[in-house]
Amino acid sequence: MALLTVEGITKRFGGLQVLNGVDLTVAEGSLTGLVGPNGSGKTTLFNVIFGLYRPDGGFVRFRDRDITGFPPYKVYQAGLAFAFQLPRLFYRLTVLDNVILAARRQRGESFWAALFARRAWRREERDLAEKAYGILELLEMPHMALKPAGELSGGQRKLLEIGRALMAEPELLLLDEPAAGVSPALALKVYELLARLREKGITIFIIEHRLDLLLNFADRIYLMDKGAIALSGPPAAVTEDPVFYSVYVGEHRKWVS
């Protein structure tokens, strides 16, 4: 069953047509990959899905609910989470606070409850701290918890961005190049983590240039070119197709991973 349906999405920036009628579906429980040359519109599509850009035409449906043009916080509330390609962390806040901020439905985040329902949110905070600890352990940085996020290295920032998305416990996780700028060993770890999340029932939609990783883990691949889907199918079928080479990989031979 399709968890996310994108139908005929178009997006123009002035005279530049970036998205030109994108159609795709992400099946529930799958790890779906989106690949394509630089400038083909992948990140723009993610931004449209998450409400950061308003599309000029088309629909985005999540569980048969129309979420087209929702502001980002409502898209999040519908059950999605998004990890940016370039981490957008809160650099003067601690790593711990960065993670906890992503948790859903915190009572203490409302003005009156923060002041007058202290007992309730204080209890909640202790549980969130435990949960955040679990995530930081997964990312191998519990020792950094009370440091400001600005002191993290580039790779750790990427991991924290993903960790934040995990804290959100989404039904659908959108990841924009999680393995970019991360060492090969760590990148593999990220993908193994994603595979485990998929087993837990989280659907993952991912932009990635690291084909060696993506093709091993993905259930389905979409190839994007010039603002539209050029090719789709299971990884094996896509890598067999000559279009895949002419558009993206650039060599007319079978991709060997």
Binding site: F90, Y91, A114, E125, Y133, L146, R164
Partner: protein, 311 residues
């Protein structure tokens, strides 16, 4: 009056208290949430005039103080609505011009606010008016009670998940949206709360001065509050209080220096030179202010701090 040093000290204490309250309110807006409110004086003035008009009708002092604060808070919410959807610098422009517009409006309302002639504020502590010392002391108590409550209120509000969201908005409000929170809602609430506190300060000011006119509410007042906050340390309430203390001492100190220094210019203007130098030095060598940002203290932080060892 000038002959009595105690009066002088009490007067200074009152002003330090009022400035602390204003700095705390700006700290909530700018220090924690990153909102550049350059119209602080407008909400201070709204509080002062509302207080004056209410106490004139015979309302009790507490009711008049809260009335002034409420009017200021509502104005804060109103001003924020058009500006918050735009980029941050627009908020600065909108609030700065709102302050001047409100002042010119009050200045033009001869019948209602006294216009340029100002308005007499009936003393609330009628029993003490006869003795300047007792009157000063009563005002010190009043101002520090109000400022103390405001300090505790902001402190309590800031060390919560709500306060965490505010700091996150200051860092990156797009990321805050992506994490499911609506920054506009928070910003409006913060501007209402911050303006409410500035309104309280205005009421206390009017009650102490017993006379207010539009020239007491020039944009310069806003800039004094900014200087206090930047000196003391944004995102730290103790820093706001410390900054208010420093600004007030400089302000007074240069006025006293007038009696001892012979300069080709008015020594009173020395304070502006000194503030300028101080701020340049501070921004170069200690941009976080004298005290720097305070930590967010919630149970999650404490659990980590104490629990890290036994894990």
């Amino acid at each position: 009056m000038a002959a009595d040093p105690l009066i002088y000290v009490l007067d200074m204490l009152v002003f330090i208290g009022i400035f602390s309250l204003l700095a705390i309110s700006l700290n909530l807006e700018y220090g924690f949430t990153g909102l550049g409110n350059f119209g602080k004086v407008a909400f201070f003035m709204a509080g002062a005039y509302t207080y004056a008009l209410m106490i004139e009708t015979g309302a009790p002092i507490l009711v008049s103080l809260l009335g002034g604060a409420t009017v200021a808070g509502l104005l804060g919410g109103l001003v924020s609505l058009p500006a918050l959807r735009l980029r941050e610098d627009y908020l600065a422009i909108v609030t700065l011009s709102f302050g001047e517009i409100l002042r010119l409006f009050v200045k033009a309302q001869e019948g209602f606010t006294g216009g340029v002639h100002g308005i007499q504020v009936p003393a609330a502590f009628t029993a003490f008016v006869a003795s300047p010392r007792l009157f000063g002391l009563a005002n010190v108590v009043l101002v520090y009670l109000v400022a103390g409550v405001a300090f505790l209120f902001v402190q309590a509000l800031i060390n919560t998940p709500y306060g965490r969201v505010l700091r996150a908005i200051r860092e990156d409000d797009v990321a805050v949206q992506v994490l499911g929170k609506n920054p506009v809602l928070y910003k409006v609430q913060v501007l209402v709360a911050g303006s409410f506190l500035a309104g309280l300060a205005g009421g206390a000011f009017a009650q102490y001065m017993r006379f207010i006119d539009p020239y007491m509410f020039l944009p310069l007042v806003t800039f004094y509050v900014w200087i206090a906050l930047i000196l003391g340390g944004p995102a730290n309430n103790w820093g706001a209080v410390l900054g208010a203390l420093v600004v007030e001492i400089f302000n007074r100190g240069t006025r006293i220096a007038k009696d001892y220094l012979v300069l080709p210019v008015d020594p009173n203007n020395l304070q502006f030179i000194m503030f300028g130098v101080l701020i340049i030095l501070l921004l170069l060598y200690r941009p976080q202010g004298i005290l720097g940002e305070s930590r967010l203290r919630t149970p999650a932080f404490r659990r980590w701090e104490h629990g890290a060892a036994d894990r």
